[in-house]
Chain length 185, copies 2
């Protein structure tokens, strides 16, 4: 951030009065520009023994497999965002979605929220997917998953299914774990 | 938003190519300025039959009662944000926090996440609180609560306690429900 989005003047990065962390400040119009984490909402569509994955047609991680998920937009609920992303990326619907993993990624200012639910009807690749397929646990391309959040969600799912007890999993993923995927943080 | 925060040129509000909703666009440098919902994280501190509430020292809703909660910051997890807000507003700590209510407010682009946990040790008003007190269900100032998210979380808690079964509650609050609190949307 270089300029004030309200008045166009140059901003500076400093701790405002009565605050405890630096923000982008506009001395011309007085606006404080707060920056906050973003929510990535998606689903884990389940069809019997299999789960649905999308192969990404766009960067980052083009060609790698992911669950249908993306940034939550203004004006929608978390669940609406998850179902919208599922429609857009996998042309698919999920019934009775229930929140399943909630993963904070503080080093990249994201919070993942993945809903588990039954796949209903057909599926097909949307414009951001190269292909969309169903996989059993042993068929999943574990070395070609796009993000550590996806790997963790899938591992929870197959563990929980063996125990036949599904619960909400809250966790965090730090820079170390992301390096395994991306080579550097 | 009037100006590009990257290059300082005037922005326009239009649907980008390959997108389906309007964004603030900078024709000079090509930046698309996405705007996304913000997370409000907080806690429901429980001490036996009583819960802890803070009376707000700042607007909005100055003088009304709330749970300790505030905007999640970059660089922290949701749980860290909830515990930080509890320290800042109520000088209090909560042990074994578990996610309890997750409420989307699509008309104001917020997602509330409130963690339930046992109050540990003392409490006191922080700089954003006029006072901090413990209340039984019948003592709660139901007509002087700051936000509908707070009322809903408290109602869930006392209902669940009667049943002795606590679970995660996902819901949404629309403009209608907020009007009860604020007079107009």
């Amino acid at each position: 951030m270089n300029y004030c989005s309200h008045c166009g003047s140059a901003v500076r990065f400093a701790v405002p009065e009565d605050d405890d962390r630096p923000r982008f400040l506009c001395d011309a119009c007085g606006t404080i520009h707060y920056q906050n984490p973003r929510i990535v909402a998606g689903t884990l569509p389940v069809a019997g023994e299999r789960v649905l994955l999308c192969r990404r047609a766009i960067s980052p991680r083009k060609g790698f497999w992911t669950l249908p998920a993306g940034y939550m937009e203004n004006g929608e609920t978390v669940e609406e965002a998850a179902l919208r992303e599922t429609r857009e990326e996998a042309r698919a619907a999920v019934i009775e979605p229930s929140l399943y993993t909630l993963i904070s990624l503080p080093h990249i200012n994201q919070v993942y929220m993945i809903f588990r639910g039954e796949l209903e009807g057909d599926y097909a690749a949307g414009p951001e997917s190269l292909e969309v397929e169903l996989f059993t646990e042993s068929e999943i391309p574990w070395d070609e998953l796009a993000f550590p959040t996806i790997e963790r969600t899938l591992k929870h799912f197959f563990d929980d299914r063996r125990r036949d007890a599904f619960e909400l999993h809250l966790s965090r993923i730090g820079a170390e774990e992301r390096e395994r995927y991306f080579g550097s943080a």
